[in-house]
């Protein structure tokens, strides 16, 4: 069902995108949300479901790929994504009919709205992650054998590259290398596929879900009420409410290609005495409660301020803070054998088995 988005929706989407990844730096999300809200004053933005397209319509994922540089440090000129879409159309010789998000959280959860406004293309309420992962190969489309290429990239300097590649793992290496050369980040368009393929292998309803999360979190109700509504919507569970007792960085070596510094946070549940351990690398990858795995990627973990119910950035966490640690189950595709192979803690250099695999 087609929906015309309002500035209010964009604000809620921003909050939802932030909630679904306990991101290190949400500045870019806020900048984009503001730009989109301004652009909406004289243009309308259409959100559609994938079944509104013809099955063989060409659709493409748009998103930022960063390599060590925060986007806010060197803002885009504005034409980068349009350039990428044109490059894909030129490469495939067909027009792109709609765009979708590369990820359903963080900056890439909101970027497609800007692209939709600029290009007048509708935005599809779907994505290939159902959350955000750091690697472009970690997608449900990859599990479904949908080709990642051709990939178009455009950096801040206006330079543009099109990579003809089959394997998602190989694409990862090539894209990372080019992004570094392009200046630290690049606008990209990838996973060009048919609407039919996106319907079969993508995660549906991701944009509207983020909007709904934003509506819940932005409402002026009690924290407990918000948690209740989130539990209803997402099957969220609260792992614990605990006080931060220790923060350390670099607790393990990182693999090449995995951005961001690893660190870990220890909290203590003051009522039960449980010791909670968070392993962080871009996002929270692992939660141990008294040494037992309580959540692990692909589960999503986010931190909420226990008093206000607002999302807490990992970078802002300080010793003494009392936080609610929330676990959100990811899209079902991620808990299959192939899904866990791509995204369980081992894929992030943490040699621990996901509990679901152990019980399978």
């Amino acid at each position: 069902m087609s929906t015309i988005l309002t500035p209010e929706d964009v604000r809620n989407l921003r909050t939802g995108a932030h909630f679904l990844t306990c991101t290190i730096d949400p500045t870019a999300i806020y900048i984009y949300a503001e730009m989109i809200q301004r652009a909406m004053e004289d243009r309308s933005l259409e959100l559609i479901t994938v079944d509104e397209l013809a099955p063989d319509d060409l659709v493409v994922a748009v998103g930022m790929v960063t390599q060590g540089l925060f986007i806010a440090d060197m803002p885009p000129v504005g034409d980068e994504f349009l350039g990428c879409i044109r490059a894909i159309e030129a490469s495939l010789g067909r027009p792109v009919r709609a765009v979708y998000s590369l990820a359903a959280a963080n900056i890439n959860g909101i970027v497609p709205l800007m692209v939709g406004l600029q290009s007048s293309l509708p935005v599809i309420d779907a994505d290939p992650m159902g959350r955000v992962f750091p690697l472009i190969s970690q997608t449900t489309l990859n599990i479904g054998n949908v080709a990642i290429g051709p990939i178009a990239l455009m950096g801040v300097t206006g330079e543009r590259a099109v990579i003809e590649v089959e394997s998602a793992q190989r694409a990862e290496t090539l894209v990372r290398a080019i992004v570094t050369e392009l200046g630290g980040w690049a606008a990209t368009a990838m996973y060009p596929c048919s609407a039919q393929q996106l319907m079969e292998h993508g995660v549906q309803g991701s944009i509207s879900r983020m909007i709904r999360i934003g509506q819940i979190l932005e409402a002026s109700t009690s924290v407990e009420r918000k948690l209740l509504l989130l539990a209803e919507l997402l099957g969220t569970t609260r792992i614990g409410r605990a006080r931060v007792s220790h923060i350390e960085s670099l607790s393990r070596p990182t693999d090449l290609g995995l951005p961001a510094q690893p660190s870990s946070v220890t909290l203590e549940d003051e009522t039960t005495g449980r010791i909670i351990h968070l392993e962080v690398q871009n996002e929270i990858l692992l939660v141990l409660v008294d040494g037992e795995v309580a959540a692990a990627v692909p589960d999503m973990v986010t931190l909420l301020n226990s008093e206000q119910g607002t999302v807490v950035n990992i970078d802002d966490v300080q010793v003494g803070d009392v936080l609610d640690i929330m676990k959100i189950t990811a899209a079902a595709q991620w808990y299959t054998e192939a899904g866990l192979d791509l995204t369980e803690p081992k894929a992030f250099g943490i040699p621990i088995m996901h509990p679901r695999r152990r019980h399978a």
Partner: protein
């Protein structure tokens, strides 16, 4: 065992003080020093899920030393009841130490290479195990010197600091030594008996939960003692069989049922003398048999012999046709009564468990022929059978009522169906049969019978007349015994019986 325990039990505190753990830094020590039985060097977290209790888990240096890793390792080691976790030495977050304290598991930091430490610890455990082996060999030698089952069990119990040790068959304790069992004991059973043997004994040690015994060592000691237990038991059984020959012979001699006791004695005097029986000495015969009709299990002989020793060690138990027989000297009536009581209290529950019953002959001052008392005991055992497993019955308490044991109930019912069809078809049949039985029980006294049934004598009289109308030959004296028998048997099948004093009604398991 006291001597060996100090030598073989490795624990964290001991090895920290003067063993391979000397070079480690304790990050957290549990208040009670953990036992150490093995060591594993793990390079993958998942490997900890396989370790046995009382293992020291050493995390190899290539695993890294992150807080999450130590936390997860502590948790998994705790779940497996490991003795300690050793991590590569470096600075540790208080959280890991806090978790070790919370879970109650010792956490040590190795100053050098953890792999080297693991090797050193493995060597130390190996040395301790060889001491255990020497200790087990010593126990094996000690029990091998014993020749009786009782001595073997006492020696084993002694080696285990007086723990309760018993030989059991199917839950029945046949012989035991050491502390009496308690419900809270941890039970360690070890099978005795070879694969092709029909009877499986277990030798069982009961370890109080409060005791600080190494359960694996207790089991090992039982295992090395098993051959001696088996040998002692086989030897005793062999000797018992030899001693039981004279007893076993008697029922074989008693083939001529018409011969009197005196004739029997006269006929077999020479043989009886040779077997060691002396004329004029009073005995009580005890006969055991299965509670089921055709269910003689010769393999129970050894079991029953061990049990029989709880009553008396002197009189051998012989396996005879469809049961077991023993002759116990009894100087007077009291000795005979005591014997019956002892059998009932000491063997009753075990007999019930094994599905057996026992019958005893009467004590008689004039010391009847052995063949007579053997026959009495057999009769008593036969009469005990319908009362169910575990019944111990003396013929003295039974008397002529024993005769009813041998009545074929089904046949009597058949006779009633055929000869008294009108009675059997009568709607008031039960009332009439009850009246008949009471009337005959009271030697034909209508007044006494009516009183026993709480009826007016006219009512009873009316019912008796009704019986006569239905064809019951109440007025022919020679047929009264049969009528009485039929009344008794039919009353058994009635839903509501008012009296239960006669032996027929106590019988179970009959058609």
């Amino acid at each position: 065992m006291r001597r060996s325990k100090n030598e073989t039990r490795l624990d964290v505190a001991g090895l920290l003080a003067h063993g391979s753990l000397r070079g480690t830094t304790p990050l957290y020590l549990t208040p009670a020093s953990g036992l150490i039985e093995s060591v594993v060097l793990v390079s993958q977290l998942e490997a900890i899920r396989q370790v046995r209790p009382n293992t020291v888990v050493v995390l190899s240096s290539e695993m890294g030393s992150g807080g999450w890793l130590v936390s997860a390792a502590l948790r998994q080691a705790w779940e497996r009841r490991a003795s300690a976790v050793i991590v590569a030495g470096s600075a540790y977050a208080s959280a890991a130490v806090g978790l070790a304290e919370r879970l109650g598991i010792t956490l040590l930091a190795a100053d050098g290479d953890p792999a080297g430490l693991a090797l050193e610890l493995a060597a130390e455990i190996g040395a301790a195990l060889s001491v255990v082996d020497a200790e087990l060999a010593r126990v094996a030698r000690a029990v091998a010197r014993d020749t009786t089952l009782g001595d073997v069990l006492r020696t084993i119990s002694g080696e285990l600091d007086g723990l309760g040790v018993s030989l059991e068959y199917d839950g029945v304790v046949l012989a035991s030594a050491g502390m009496p069992p308690r419900d809270t004991d941890e039970v360690i059973p070890v099978e005795v008996g070879e694969a092709n043997s029909a009877v499986h004994f277990t030798i069982t040690a009961r370890v109080p939960t409060s005791a600080v015994h190494n359960l694996r060592l207790v089991r090992s000691i039982l295992e090395v003692a098993t051959p001696s237990v088996k040998a002692a038991w086989l030897l005793e059984d062999l000797l018992s069989t030899a001693r039981a020959v004279p007893t076993a012979a008697i029922p074989r001699l008693d083939q001529d049922l018409d011969a009197s006791g005196a004739e029997f004695e006269e006929k077999h005097r020479h043989l009886l003398n040779q077997l060691g029986w002396r004329a004029g000495e009073p005995y009580v015969a005890v006969r055991f048999r299965s509670a089921e009709e055709q269910d003689h299990r010769p393999e129970l002989t050894a079991v029953l012999r061990l049990l029989w020793r709880k009553v008396t060690a002197r009189s051998p138990l012989a396996e005879v046709h469809d049961g077991w027989l023993t002759l116990v000297p009894a100087g007077d009536q009291d000795a005979s009564t005591q014997l019956e009581t002892r059998i009932r209290t000491r063997l009753g529950p075990a007999l019930a468990e094994l599905g057996l019953v026992a019958g005893l002959s009467r004590w008689q001052e004039d010391a009847p022929a052995l063949a007579m008392i053997v026959r009495e005991a057999r009769l008593a055992a036969e009469s005990a059978r319908p009362m169910g497993s575990g019944t111990v019955l003396g013929l003295a308490s039974l008397g002529v009522v024993a005769a009813t044991t041998f009545v074929d109930m089904a046949a009597v019912v058949d006779v009633a169906e055929l000869t008294l069809p009108r009675l059997m078809a009568a709607p008031d049949r039960d009332v009439i049969i009850t009246a008949l039985a009471a009337f005959l029980d009271h030697r034909g006294s209508v007044s006494l019978a009516a009183k026993s049934l709480n009826l007016h004598r006219n009512t009873l009289q009316a019912r008796l007349n009704r019986a006569r109308e239905l064809g019951v030959p109440l007025d022919i004296p020679s047929e009264l015994l049969s009528v009485h028998l039929i009344a008794k048997v039919l009353r058994r099948s009635m839903p509501d019986k008012t009296t239960s004093e006669d032996a027929l009604e106590n019988q179970k398991g009959l058609p």
